[in-house]
Amino acid sequence: MTALLTLDRVRRVHGETVILDDVSFAVEEGRFITLFGPNGCGKTTLMNILTGVDTPSGGTLHGAESVRGHIGFVFQDYRRTLLPWRSGRENILLPLRLRGMDRREQIRRLDRLVAKMNPDFDLHQRIYTLSGGQAQMIGLMRALIIEPRLLILDEPFSALDYGRTLAYRQLIMTVARDFNLTTLFISHDLEEALYLGDEVIFLTAKPTRVREVMTIPFPRHREPSLLGTPAFAALKLKGLANVELA
């Protein structure tokens, strides 16, 4: 399998503070990788480096140039990253508009995406009239409209209730499969990280290092009933060994 992105001893230092300390891992094409780490461990810095918003102080990031411009990003704080003065539809089209894409092509892409995602609400509504789940659906569609090679989701369900979170996990797995995406999912919820990932990368608290990379033995596209099985409980116990108690 080809690596889409490889981080080799990536460091990020702000003044005297070391945020990322020799972080190394590979994101292989078509895989669903979850990054698990405590709050404030430098995941946002890592994402900024991957997306080109920030640059590393040391180390190498292989493959970054080939994916830049092809990264779809779903944010944790979706309400604060969507534009409330625009409709859901305009929010989805924004990344294409920024690229100066022809309007007819934008609409064609949107129609294709709507046919695949089948949202059950009116996309012409303003963002502030939508529920949390609907707004996050807009955030997801905004990430997918660019037809990304890499989809990054930064704790996208942290504001949703458990029932909705379960439903959205299923949706993300379906999307990753149907769109044939390489996915990087950031989470601080161990159950979520283990349930979704083909691989879970455990990060330490700051200065951030990779503590362990765990391969998940379950086949892709899982059902919530998996969460109640002894095999999942055993995996969770193994994962707990990598959790630092605050």
Binding site: T81, W85, P95
Partner: protein, 259 residues
Amino acid sequence: MSPSNKPNPWERYRFVVGFGVLLAFWIIVVDIGQWVSPLLVPPLGSVLERLGQLVLSGELAQNTLATLGRWVQGFTLGVVAGTLAGLVLGVFPRVYAFAEGVIEFFRAMPVTAIFPLFLLMFGIGDESKIAMAFLPTFLLMLINASYGVLHASPERRRAMRIFGATRWQIFRHVVFFEALPQIFIGLRLALSLSLVVAVVAEMFIGTDTGLGQRIYDSYLTNSVTTLYALLLVLGGLGYALNKISMAIEHRVVDWAGKA
């Protein structure tokens, strides 16, 4: 709909009821009770009769238009220049840090105290009065527009950078809209203050038209009924302008506070 969400039928008549009570109080105290000297507060009936005369003679329209003409010029110039300067300063926080002291210096200065200086600079004609309406508008718009830009959501800026937006695109799609609610706050503050200042400027020197000039003239000639009639018009004008600006604000930034 829960009982607390039911629209109160009195809501839309609040202004009429409040104003009706004030006028009733005026009639009881002045017209009926005669507890206040008519030299200080004339009967409401005679004030309304005088108002009617001012309307029919065309004098009211002429003076209102003269005041509005000066105010609109100063206010519009102030809004455009102040908003543009505020947006630019907000985009360059280091420049704003240098300019902040100067802005605060002028903001702390009573505008009316600058009028003699404006008379020297622009003469006794309309220009000095337009400048008087311009200055507070400019300062309020500048302060509020720059504040709006400086406090634009860092999360949306980051999201736009991740989407590969240029600095201009971030400004056009995010920062400008983020600043709009604050710009409208400045607009409403500037609207009342600049109208007050424009009327006060007319009272000083250099004009024989305008509501301010007519109010001062009424005082000099002891025409109390005219004075009260013009004050009623001025109050109504300020109220109407404020309502119009609020209606525009609700339409343009209906999303404010809901994001």
